[in-house]
Symmetry: C2
Subunit: 314 residues, 2 copies
């Protein structure tokens, strides 16, 4: 069962959204109008055994990741955090002390990013073998009138990534996927410098190949990435860096030259936006199925993007 | 492990909430300020085997209940629905067809109550034995400047309930807990008629005894309920009606006489708000532990409210 197919079905049936819904499902966050104000909102979740290994991961980092995954969605929209809510289901033998540790970590992480935990629900599973699940809803406001979505990439734009990619999950279950910094501050700085020229953005959770494809599909363009330019973490080969996911760096497109020294974190131009080759723009329904619209060039050959990145089925 | 104790711990540590948080955790919904607009937000969840029995419940009703439980929180605050988001974890053998049925039911229910589904996340469990979990976040706006919370009950107020209570869960797992109407429309009508006189309100999810106690504790008052006045569903005795929960009717307090014929649904005066007998107002931390502050009178004896209602540990 694929998340995308299922969600696409829901989205398709949801075509007649109320007028106050400004951005419906399908981007990193949805947006609604509220008496003149605008609100960004998203939900994400972690499931023990899928996104975190409770045997090797301190609960402090489990709680941190639950929150930062959703915060990364705020970064993807260049949003400003407002507040967060959690819904947690615990195995009956989880224990109050461990539950408190988990909740404290979530509360503290949320507060650290100015996204205070303002509500929650706790349920208890019937069986000790049933896994901890933790869904986190985040609220944010856009940085300005222009809202940065996935669908604004334009032909001629440069394609950029922040930071370095790959190696987020170490063999022992630990790694950067537990300790990453959601790029909220950097996204807001990008917005401040680029304004409406910040054409499209996404956070890299599924892997560069797949996430760049989300931009390409949503924007109706094609993206060429020069594999040799991908900034990899030490010891990581580009194919791995482009496919593993859970980097939680930003991938964005913008025209012209970027200002230098926007912030301390490195920003690397890795490719360019081109006309779509396909005879017509693909429907959204096909977007999640592969990485059509993205090609990696390594100097010798072309590699279709759909051979990289993973199906986000978890 | 008790939800209240754990959440209270989080709330206590959360004392220094950002200024834009107008209502923090502890009520049916939290509220934040957004550039002048105000937003109510809450999350609730259902877990298969705990809140619904998948063996006896059509998936259409599972999806309906997932949404309506959260919509009932909007009713409790007299809010106007804005939008909803879901995070679902499915067993791997759940199947696309059943998942589609579930999501269609959630989408349709949300749309029926003007609370369109605008975002979601789907995760897949590792084991077929791991249960479906479904968390639903709802957004709403207050009906007016006065926001109806649990903590506004005043000495001399009448205590009222909408509809009829008890018998929500039939022995075969079906019943009103699956098919109830969240009282959004009625709550807005109450607000329209009573305005700032709608002092306190809650939806009856844990049982009248416990939920009236939430009002009493939060408001620092005591509530006396005349058990003989409790409107029970056919064949239900008052103790059962006051303790079972999952009625999703409204319990509220207001001074003076209520207007008649506010809406078709019956509204029954069942009690009155009195001074708190305890030497000092209990701390929030004690609120969840029992039903202190509520007494049921049946003409012959007094029954403390904490002998009714159930610990919401699920």
């Amino acid at each position: 069962m694929r998340e995308f197919e299922l969600l696409e079905h829901v989205y398709a049936a949801n075509a007649e959204l109320a007028r106050h819904v400004r951005i419906g499902p399908g981007d990193d966050m949805a947006m609604v109008d509220l008496d003149g104000g605008r609100l960004l909102v998203a939900v994400d979740q972690i499931v023990a055994g899928k996104h975190v290994d409770l045997d090797t991961t301190p609960l402090e980092l489990v709680g941190r990741k639950a929150i930062t995954r959703s915060l990364s969605d705020i970064a993807a929209m260049a949003g400003k955090p407002v507040a967060s809510l959690v819904a947690v289901t615990l195995p009956p033998d989880f224990g109050s002390k461990r539950a408190t540790t988990l909740f404290d970590a979530m509360r503290k992480t949320a507060a650290d990013y100015d996204c205070p935990l303002i509500g929650g629900d706790i349920a208890i599973h019937n069986e000790n073998s049933h896994p901890l699940t933790c869904s986190v809803t985040v609220l944010a406001t856009p940085s300005g009138e222009h809202v940065v979505t996935r669908d604004g990439a334009k032909v001629g734009d440069g394609v950029y990534v922040t930071g370095r990619l790959g190696g987020s999950l170490l063999p022992d279950g630990t790694g950067h996927h537990l300790t990453f910094e959601p790029r909220i501050k950097e996204a807001i700085e990008l917005y401040r410098h680029l304004g409406t020229n910040l054409h499209a953005m996404i956070d890299i959770s599924d892997g560069l190949g797949r996430d760049a494809a989300h931009i390409a599909e949503a924007s109706g363009v094609s993206i060429q990435i020069d594999a040799r330019l991908i900034p990899c973490r030490p010891g990581i080969e580009w194919r791995q860096a482009a496919s593993e996911g859970e980097d939680y760096e930003l991938c964005f497109t913008a025209p012209g030259e970027l200002p230098t020294n926007m912030f301390e974190l490195e920003v690397t131009r890795i490719g360019e936006v081109f006309d779509r080759k396909e005879p017509e723009k693909s429907s959204r329904g096909e977007a999640g199925g592969g990485s059509r619209g993205v090609v990696f060039l390594d100097g010798a050959s072309e590699l279709p993007g759909d051979e990289l990145g993973w199906q986000h089925e978890s």
